[in-house]
Amino acid sequence: MDAARLKQSWALVAGHGDQVPLYFYSTLFLTHPQTRQMFGTDMAGQRDGLVSALGHIVSHVDQVDRLVGFLQRLGADHRKFAVRAEHYPAVGEALLATVRHFSGAAWTDELAADWAGAYGVVAQVMTDAARAAEAHSPPWWVAEILAHERRTFDVAVLTVRPQYLLPFVAGQSIGVSHPAVRAWRYYSPANAPRPDGTVELHVRAAPGGAVSSRLVYGCAAGDQVHLAAPVGDALTLRPAGSSDVLLLAGGTGWAPVKALVEQVAAEGSGRRVDLYVGARSRTEFYDSEAIDKAAAAHPWLRVSYVAESDPLRPGEMVRVVDRALSDGDWGSRHVYVCGSDEMVSQSVAALTGAGYQPGQVHHEGFGEHWYGSTWRAVTNPDQSGVTR
């Protein structure tokens, strides 16, 4: 396989933009109609994901060792979409037909062999990883909703119990889906792992968000949801070592932060925690009961509420990060930030401007884990970042 030729071929094809994945999926659905129902109706976001995944794979095709971890996770993760080994050849056929169509006169037998070879390797690694993952975890966890509380007009707090133990670390996110919706969203459990395996989820309904509105408005105790394996290490306590921490939360970004507070309590290390909880207005602190309780129970925890706007003072915005920075010098702390993309990016910018080092400021990536939401989901309106 000629890696340089393959990369060049991909560059030529990718130049056609969104038309490429559109052609790919249409070909796949025409040749294998049964695959259509694995995807949501709206696939616009999905197509971006496919192109970047392919681009990533092709650009590393000559360094398979660097690619293997990525592909293994991708393969194991795709089990939650009910992807099985027999789907891989179908995808390969559609991919080759697509690349040939967009290559036009540049298409040769050698190129066809390169692409077939490269896809073969990818499919092999992914199917092997999927089979290996089968041994230690189910493709998804069926969970029962034990409690469903609407806390504000668009925020609900759910307690769910998976049928099998779903192991996770405080600060990670788990996939959440509803049997009636062919899409996954990622939410952070708002608790440290519990002996009974229950998980607390904080969900804000996004306008047009299929999963989030279903979870907030269309679910009740006793209903079932599906959960998928945890992802993300950026918000776990591990990189902070044993140092004191500063926690900044906005909206439902409070969920992973709550898990971190519980984690600190569980480890009993006595590290100091200063917590700033932000919400758009005073009426939107949807979990203040639990926050006040924690503040009263733990002498090492100090809590400040920040209402970002006051209806009596229109136009005035108070940002969580500004309040925290004006309250003290946290230079020796590790800082965890979670909230909307806007809140996180502003906070990180303000902290960086104040001289904080990148290694001490922890936050999730912006936007969505592209593979998770995009494989068959509505993407933009429901981004976990935006919904926080």
Partner: protein, 225 residues
């Protein structure tokens, strides 16, 4: 700017410059950050209309280009057939012709246009509701404050020399609180009515639209524009 660049897989950065192409869907969902009060900007409605037009035009162009590419492929095949007696792209009979593929793609695009419109509408309604709520709250607080002040003035003129500041304050707070609570209760009733109505509408829509996939096409056949 709220169209996010694709970031990474599980904190592992996808390396290399990922070029994010502008698609009609991105244009439709693009949200401009509104300028600060003191700064001049474009008329929001005007920007939205322009955005829609650009997105539609992108779709139209994409359809035309796809059509041309299919035609190109067909002609090339014909040429090859004349020259060599074989159609090169027919080596795999299972693959559909570009024309068929484009037909399905067009249906998919149309479905996505409709969904994007619905999402846009939902976002606007939510935004509208929020501003309504905030101005309602502001008006309620203002009214309650005036009412409380009036009560204090009345109390003072009635009590004359015996007026007690503590009593006046307590009375003012009580009236303010009661009025705010009654306003809130009224607002909550409105909200509940609204959300019930919304839920009914959503259920009706869900009943009317069969789930896509399986044998059902993702959208109605594309009609002529």
């Amino acid at each position: 700017m709220s169209v996010n660049p694709i970031s990474g897989y599980d904190a592992q950065q996808v390396s290399g410059p990922v070029q994010v192409r502008l698609t009609s869907d991105r244009v439709r969902r693009w949200q401009f950050v509104s300028a600060a009060f003191t700064r001049r900007g474009y008329e929001q409605a005007d920007v939205d209309r322009f955005r829609m037009q650009v997105a539609d035009e992108l779709d139209l162009l994409a359809v035309q280009v796809a059509h041309l590419r299919a035609e190109n492929e067909r002609l090339t095949d014909r040429l090859e057939l004349h020259r060599h007696g074989v159609i090169p792209s027919a080596d795999n009979p299972a693959t559909p012709a570009a024309k068929e593929v484009n037909l399905l793609s067009a249906a998919q695009r149309e479905a996505e246009q409709i969904i994007a419109q619905a999402h846009d509408y939902a976002r606007r309604v939510a935004e509208y509701a929020r501003t309504q709520y905030e101005s309602y709250l502001r008006a309620a607080a203002e009214e309650a404050r005036q009412e409380a002040e009036r009560a204090v003035v009345e109390y003072r003129s009635a009590a004359g020399q015996n007026a007690d500041d503590a009593v006046a304050t307590r009375e003012a707070l009580r009236i303010f609180g009661e009025m705010m609570m009654s306003h809130m209760r009224a607002a909550a009733r409105h909200l509940d009515d609204g959300s019930e109505q919304l839920a009914r509408t959503m259920e009706r829509i869900a009943r009317e639209v069969p789930p896509a996939g399986g044998d059902a096409p993702p959208a109605l056949p594309r009609h002529q524009r």
